[in-house]
């Protein structure tokens, strides 16, 4: 609050007028206080929309519209609830727990908990970055994510809060709001709070929306302050893969998501002229973001699942961890290879002593001499100095000491394997480790090497082995000769999508002529390795969809080469256009994808954007053929990212492990009554078909996912030409991957003009068999009655 004119206080949040005494003709009032919610600066021509800074219930009606169509299908992980001391409570057969909650509400509560954790993580990340960057660059540091090419710099923030941020300081209020909302959401999970599964679900969607705001803030500030690529379709290529590091040099490995400490390392190397003396490689999103800062000085090893194998390889001489998705055993694993660890986030201190205030020389000495296995340093610049000076001193001592065994040791151990199957029973992907050990015992290491291709790197096999064999290390040992040669190219994260790109593709997307936007995002908990993600990316890029990517999925796309040795990022452009493969960046870059959909509504359709969530989401849901695919979704963050897309009406497909999120949001194409929208021009309720059919759904195989991607891009407002193009891809993929013609085309052909011309006879024959009747095309469908322009009498 800023004191103003004695009795009046003004802030962006609220206006409070206090009057000590007011005398009028009719009354005398003492200690009068008038409070007017939030005050919006009116330097922005666009008027404020209906839902600025929405509370946890402001968009409930919109949520219920979605949830009525896409009803939750709960998949309880277990029969009980164990969240309070009443429990455990048996919730089978419609029983309620001691608190009165039933199984559906309990599952929804767990989903809300997961999404709140995810949102809190991104918002906490954003808060840390914002505070750090304000300290470094000042509150007035301008927000610039794309110069003149990006006028709508913060589509999600504008849409949700009604604020148009111009400087870093403007974002403090945005994060204040996010933090408040997450607190409310988490509080709703407490015993004796929310009792309805549908209200929990509405709050899940709120968590997702808030998460998108938090992520957008995080990426905006790092792009603006650090000078990451600014909406650049030709962002540079950099190296990715196991073999990227020059192991003749000291190697620093950075792991995590929050990049300031990694940037501290790059800055120190640059300032001291040491940039060619030390290798800086990274795992997970911090690797993506440090290459956005310096594509020449930093390299990416790989996704989250590569942590153990790479540490054990002995290649890293020093490890710096920040926050999120870092293995909790990073420190003991680093000790096995005698590599010091620097923890750099208050959220991940690893039990290490806080040496932030110690002189750098003392810390370096302690690490080099091995007096401590690691330190906590909560100052990114100091991390840079300590990491570089320590790694230079320690590398020659370590001599790349590794904890991966020699091949002979693997073979000898394999001979002692009792084939008890415990490793396989612990493996999330049920990999045939016992069979591979049997072959290894005979000297054939190929089956063990094959295991690595599908391995998610969890090492649960090791914990289960009664002989304490380091089975994950055995698998890596069997593959090491191939791994060392692996080097690929990835386009570094470009950040936002330019307004001009939106202008160019907005029409074709809404009309359906660009058949869809496919967002390949999320973690690396793949059922069959990352190659399936690359396959999906190429399939849809070839088909002239716009393929976007972020995080570990963006890395997996890079890790395949064609016969000419080219990766997908070398073969396909990085522009947001048909046939492009667009790496937007790290996890916190995901709002650029949501933002593109929002900007289509704002720039192409000219809908008011400011605090106008419901109308924009309704537009996106009915017109923008976008679908998210998180094939290896693992984390709570992935859950909240997905839920941010759901509230915008964008469907998300996850891989089979995603079924463990315990809840799908499924449409029922067999229930015609579920698929009526309003015609916004007349108010008439009209059948629009099951488009998109689902909002959240786990596919069993990549083939199923690919067919579903094509289908979920169909939207009620497609033009006939657009619908025909979308159906062409759906039918073609279905025939190729399923081996048969799809059995639901009658639900998507509205009139004969929708029929793909090259498939006309086949489709007509099918429609005849189904006794299909011609329907109507509605250009202006909506789920929201208040958007009806003229009500039908």
């Amino acid at each position: 609050m800023i004191p103003f004119n004695g009795g009046v206080q003004l802030s962006k949040k609220s206006l409070v007028v206090k009057v000590k005494e007011l005398k009028t003709d009719v009354a005398v009032m003492k200690d009068l206080q008038v409070s007017v919610g939030r005050v919006f600066e009116e330097t922005w021509a666009e008027s404020i929309g209906p839902t600025p800074f929405p509370s946890i219930t402001d968009l409930r009606a919109w949520d219920f519209k979605l949830l009525e169509r896409y009803k939750p299908f709960y998949l309880p992980f277990c029969d009980v609830c164990c969240l309070c001391t009443f429990g455990k409570c048996d919730l089978t057969k419609d029983k309620r727990g001691a608190c009165g909650l039933n199984m559906a509400a309990q599952q929804a509560r767990i989903v809300l908990l997961a999404c709140s954790i995810g949102a809190a993580t991104h918002i906490g990340h954003a808060r840390h970055l914002l505070e750090h960057l304000i300290e470094k660059f000042g509150r007035n540091c301008p927000i610039d994510v794309g110069g003149i090419n990006v006028e709508i710099e913060a589509p999600v923030t504008r849409l949700v809060t009604g604020i148009r941020p111009k400087t870093l300081g403007d974002l403090e209020e945005v994060l204040d709001y996010c933090e408040t909302e997450v607190t409310h959401l988490l509080s709703a999970c407490h015993t004796g709070q929310e009792g309805s599964n549908m209200d929990f679900e509405s709050k899940v969607l709120h968590a997702g929306m808030i998460d998108q705001v938090g992520m957008e803030v995080a990426d905006m500030v790092q792009i603006s302050a650090y000078g990451f690529p600014k909406a650049d379709p030709e962002a540079p290529l950099t190296e990715i893969g196991w073999g990227v590091a020059d192991i003749s040099k000291p190697v620093i490995l950075v792991i995590g998501h929050n990049v300031p400490s990694s940037i501290g390392i790059i800055d120190y190397l640059r300032d001291k002229g040491l940039y060619n003396k030390v290798e800086v490689v990274g795992i997970c999103c911090t690797a993506i973001d440090v290459t956005r800062y310096s594509p020449s000085m930093a390299k990416i090893v790989g996704p989250i699942s590569w942590q153990l194998r790479y540490i054990r390889s002995g290649i890293p001489d020093l490890i710096v961890v920040d926050e999120q998705c870092i293995r909790a055993d990073a420190l003991p694993e680093a000790q096995k290879i005698k590599a010091p660890v620097i923890a750099s986030s208050p959220k991940n201190c690893l039990g290490l002593e806080d040496r932030t205030k110690s002189p750098a020389k003392e810390i370096i000495s302690d690490l080099v001499e091995g007096k401590v296995p690691g330190v906590l340093i909560l100052d990114p610049d100091k991390v840079g100095e300590v990491a570089v000076e320590t790694v230079i001193a320690v590398a020659s001592k370590r001599k790349k000491f590794k904890s991966i065994p020699e091949i002979e040791e693997v073979i000898e151990a394999a001979k002692k394997c009792t084939q008890c199957n415990e490793c396989r029973r612990a493996c999330p992907n049920d990999l045939p480790i016992p069979d591979a050990m049997k072959a290894a015992a005979k000297g054939d290491l190929n089956p063990l090497a094959q295991i690595l291709k599908d391995c998610v790197g969890c090492a649960r096999c090791e914990g289960a082995c009664p002989n304490d064999f380091p089975l994950h290390s055995f698998v890596v040992a069997a593959s090491q000769n191939d791994l060392i040669k692996e080097k690929f190219k990835i386009r570094v994260g470009r950040g936002a999508i330019q307004d001009v790109e939106i202008r160019n593709v907005g029409g074709p997307i809404v009309m359906g002529e660009i058949p869809g936007v496919v967002a390949l995002v999320g973690c690396a908990n793949y059922p069959h390795g990352g190659r399936e993600v690359a396959e999906m990316a190429e399939e849809f890029a070839k088909r002239r969809y716009i393929v976007t990517a972020s995080g570990c999925a963006a890395m997996s796309i890079a890790m395949q080469k064609d016969e000419e040795g080219k990766t997908l990022y070398e073969k396909y452009p990085g522009s947001f256009d048909a046939g492009g493969i667009v790496n937007v960046g790290s996890c916190v870059s995901n709002p650029h994808i949501a933002g593109a959909a929002i900007k289509i509504a704002s720039i192409f359709a000219k809908l008011p954007l400011r605090a106008n969530y419901e109308e924009i989401a309704d537009y996106v849901h009915t017109r923008v053929g976008a679908v998210g695919v998180a094939w290896g979704a693992m984390s709570q963050k992935a859950a909240s990212i997905a839920s941010g897309f759901w509230r915008l009406g964008v469907p998300v497909i996850v891989g089979p492990h995603g079924s463990k999120y315990r809840r799908m949001l499924l449409g029922r194409k067999d229930r015609k009554e579920d698929w009526y929208d309003y015609d916004a021009r007349t108010g008439e309720k009209v059948y629009v078909g099951p488009a998109p059919e689902h909002l959240f759904y786990a596919a069993e195989t990549k083939e199923e996912a690919m067919v579903m991607i094509a289908k979920l891009c169909i939207r009620p407002a497609d033009t006939t030409k657009g619908r025909a193009i979308k159906l062409t891809h759906y039918i073609d993929l279905h025939k190729r991957l399923y081996g048969v013609f799809p059995d639901d085309i009658d639900l998507f052909v509205r009139t004969k003009a929708d029929i793909p011309i090259t498939m006309r006879d086949e489709v007509l024959k099918f429609l005849e068999e189904k006794k299909w009747k011609e329907g109507r095309i509605i250009n202006n469908p909506t789920l929201v009655p208040r958007l009806i322009k003229k009500r039908k009498e």
Binding site: P76, T92, M103, M664, Y697, G739, V740, D743
Partner: protein, 179 residues
């Protein structure tokens, strides 16, 4: 007592009854008024004795005269073998429909009272069976025909070796009277 195949997949107080002999499956199928067989993609990369699991599934479906729902992308594999499933749809979709007491079934004749499962990824089948255990228990019995114990089913084989599993399924087919 049977244990889940994936060690940590502990279900809770309600666990599947263990199928100790194939006759149990046969009796359940014969007793059912509206049985259905849901088949996942793993039947096309699993070998049972001298043949693929999908071939055995087809023989079983024919012997029991049960409609088959093929999940994932495997419908074409059935058709290649000259067997037409009653429907194909994602695993989540058939799970969701079986959970709905109002669903009229693939043929419009009403909800099913017995659902047999085989060939999905273990954890995915585990979760779908859990959904049915919790939300469809009033009308639906579930049986896992897989090699591994599925604790959320009503009935499940225990974890068995491939040879024994093959023998069990062959016995089921034989008792049903192969057509």
């Amino acid at each position: 007592m049977a244990e889940p195949w994936q060690t940590a997949e502990i279900p809770g107080p309600a666990k599947a009854l263990v199928i100790t002999k194939p006759a149990v499956v046969v009796a359940m199928i014969k007793r059912a008024k509206r049985p259905i067989l849901v088949v996942g993609h793993k039947v096309i990369d699993t070998r049972l004795g001298g043949s693929e699991a999908i071939d055995l599934v087809i023989r079983l479906a024919k012997a029991a005269e049960i409609p088959v729902v093929a999940t994932a992308h495997i419908v074409g594999e059935f058709i290649k073998r000259d067997f037409h499933p009653a429907a194909w749809m994602p695993a989540m979709d058939i799970g969701n429909r079986l959970k709905d007491p109002e669903w009229n079934g693939i043929d419009g004749e009403g909800q099913y009272d017995l659902a047999l499962f085989m060939g999905m990824p273990y954890y995915m089948e585990w979760l779908i069976l859990s959904a049915l255990k919790h939300f469809a228990y009033k009308y639906l019995t579930t049986i896992s025909l897989d090699r591994f114990y599925q604790p959320h089913a009503t009935w499940s084989f225990p974890n068995t070796k491939t040879e024994e599993w093959t023998k069990n399924l062959e016995n089921v087919i034989s008792m049903l009277g192969e057509k």
